[in-house]
Amino acid sequence: MELRSILATDCGSTTTKAILIEKIAGEYRLAFRGEAPTTVEAPFEDVTKGVLNAVMEVEELAGRKLIDGDNIMTPRKGDEGVDIYISTSSAGGGLQMMVAGVVKGMTGESAQRAALGAGSIVMDVLASNDGRKPHEKIERIRQLRPDMILLSGGIDGGTTKHVVELAEILAAANPKPRLGTSYKLPVIYAGNKNAADKIKDTLGEITDLDITENIRPVLERENLKPSRDKIHDLFMEHVMQQAPGYKKLMSWTDAPIMPTPGAVGALIEMVAEKENISVVGVDIGGATTDIFSVFQKQFNRTVSANLGMSYSICNVLAEAGLKNVLRWVPFDIDEKELTNRIGNKMIRPTTVPQSMEELVIEQAIAREALRLSFIQHKSFAVNLKGVQKERTISDAFEQSESGESLVDMMDLDLLVGSGGVLSHAPRREQSARMLIDSFLPEGITQLAVDSIFMMPQLGVMANIQKEEIAEDARMAAIEVFEKDCLIRLGSCLAPVGQYKVGATVLITELTLSNGETQTHVLKSGDIFRIKIPYEPVKAKLTPGKGMNIGAGKNEVIETTIYGGVVGIIFDGRGRPLEISSDPKTRISNLTNWSKAVNEYPNLNPNSES
């Protein structure tokens, strides 16, 4: 069957978004979109109402019938209906899990990776060596009431004692699921296969136990997929069944409903694989910040559960510290008044910045939320710990060890931002600066934002398993991602090395598509922007003495780079970026950096706000 029209929704905790993708002149494009408030909570308590409202907007814009009575019309008949309908969901707080492993840094971490990769929020990681006494663990399990528990531990054939001990702790806590009282808590066992029978004896009766392949069959290898798939199955079978209206929604969709972050992860994984590139994706929301990365073909996702721009904005302030937020603010402000303002945003989370000063403060906080989330991500996205590596002579010099971060900023090709503060910043220059300042890309990095947060829907599309439509759906996901989903901001060129004041750190010779040539010299401490649209530009990059722009110290690179709606940003401020602690110098530097990229042209620090 040839797919010609695809309807996809994402049911978020506040808004349900619908998109219609159609094949026009041989290529898949986003045709229309609509949105409506999510209707999971009282007084509606039926998610499908919000879905129908959002689809109705699309229907009106498309000028053709998509809904028949209370149903989405699939398959398409002539000009009515769509070929397939799919959906993601994060309504009702998403999927909340607790994971357990014997050693926190080994099976505990593998279990956490599986749960996060499947799109869940990990509420806690229990481990035999987490320093808590059994009764403290029991109290914690009872308190948290997760949707699901993933229990792992031990390599196949290893000792069974510790993982059975964890099962006994779970049994003693006798945990109850978060939603509904009519079903038993789903528990997935993905540990030492020799312990499976004992785990069954311990947990079989009081929980809804499911046994799958060991997450860490041998120390050297993780086997996350079976657990991730099982989490998705149970999410559909149990958790979603409890949420109001989901039974009906599930009967409508042509592919299983995926948790929103799980779908985004699937898409990023696919893009990295197809283009053979390293990618970092970030979604900064009101309550949480999700970071996805693919480095060395390994996918990782982290959720910073309390780093967000509204509900948890005060937590960003608490974790980053007022000083770190203020270092991004190019004017003087009363510190106590600032904390009250941020507090008021927390208790009135849906407000928007009206004055320029408010916008600058909000974007300063976003930089810190992103920076802290990325620190968490870097410490989680690591090589497997506990693995004995075979060493060569060169390794012996590098002293590489297990557990080192996979995140290498020099290796990063594409950085994609999404979430209100990045996607809807009044100027794209602001989004680019926020991404650069918080992630500090090195070498050559393309920057982009997700225009309307379509990544979840495209992720489900890319993940459709039905054979007859899988290929078309994957193609549609990729085409729409490239043409409609991403807004290409441009590229950041940031040489790294020992910076000397006033020294040249990079000379760039560009040949544009019209044949025009340009030469740009970047000095240490400077930042500037060249306006070039999203098109291939031939570039010869000559790093300054001792500098590295991607190929190693002093190595010249000839390559193709891309501009975008912002252009090419040359960042000679150094890595790590140091901001002066002297308020005068800081404000002067920040103002100059802003001017260089036209970030806040209308900022008048003395205006009444």
């Binding site: 909570e41 509900y311 937590n315 008044e337 009250n340 303002r341 507090g343 849906t350 928007v352 209308n602």
Partner: protein
Amino acid sequence: MAHAYTPGLKVLHETKINKERRLPLKGTVVVENGTTVQPDDIVAKTDLPGNVQMVNVANQLNIDADDVNDAMTVKVGSEVRKDDMIAETKGLFGMFKSNVTAPVDGTIEIISDTTGQVVIREAPIPVEIDAYMSGRIKEVIPEEGVVIESEGVFIQGIFGIGGESRGDLAVIVKDREEEITEELITSKLAGKIVVGGSFISLKAYKKAIQMKVAGVVVGGFNYFDLEDILGYTLGVAITGSEDLVTSLILTEGYGKIRMGSQTFDLLKEHHGKFTSVNGATQIRAGVIRPEIVIPLSGDELKGDHKDAYASEGIQAGSLVRVIRAPYFGRMGKVVDLPSELRKMESETMVRVAIIEIDGENIEIPRANLEMVETD
């Protein structure tokens, strides 16, 4: 298109108030439908499962986990007292025995021959739920709780700390601008719900705690002073379980902001009446705001009810409050609701409302307005 404004906080002089009082686990409801209850009356009770203690018998006796069952002197289900022997080795010819005793009173729940652990569960913990406000039992939810109905004043705050509290209402300031100072808090206010104007300082609030004031209702408080009270930085607005003598309810927000006139006048009107308050706040999906409930009796009711839980949309003529800088805390009437997007000073494109504040028409993003829902 989604409504882009924050639903208003209720300030209702007379309404039907329904309160669900639910047990954390199934238990017994001790009142019947139609019963009249007072705030302190118990309406339902249950027992929470006791805490669990784990004893590693195999380690303590230095035996294999497989042998633990043989060494046990009690069985699964046996009740034990603290220091009772629960396991013993056979020893050598009946000599050199070693044993394990129970660390707490409880019941043996699990004996594991894989790990050698024994699980002892302590006695259940009784939990009782009271009525919180005076009223009538409208519905009994079997084994789970009740719904209590009452009529009276219902006011929502924007943020609070501390859970449920109650006492006589005492308005201690002259007008809605006046701050609650340390001097205004006296021992006479013990057990009362105190109402102030624009602000309470940390010092004054601490004095209220010292004087055992039951609750404080006021316009604003400093965000950074919360840490001093709570012992931690409040990162997300989820409160209610703090163990505080004096619940605090803010009607406007953080900083010095005069209390809304409707709120202040209504509280003043009921000075001296018995009032129930709850500071519990949850700002997430399924939002919970702190509340002030003043149940009124038959002759105090005028009979012009408004539904406490219905919400109206914003429209021309609506009374609104600005909830973000600039103009934060100011109130005005909606003059017009232009449908096209307008550019703000921040260059954000938003839907706006034109508001008349002190005779001047001002453009404010609709998202930065809150309905003042009065009756």
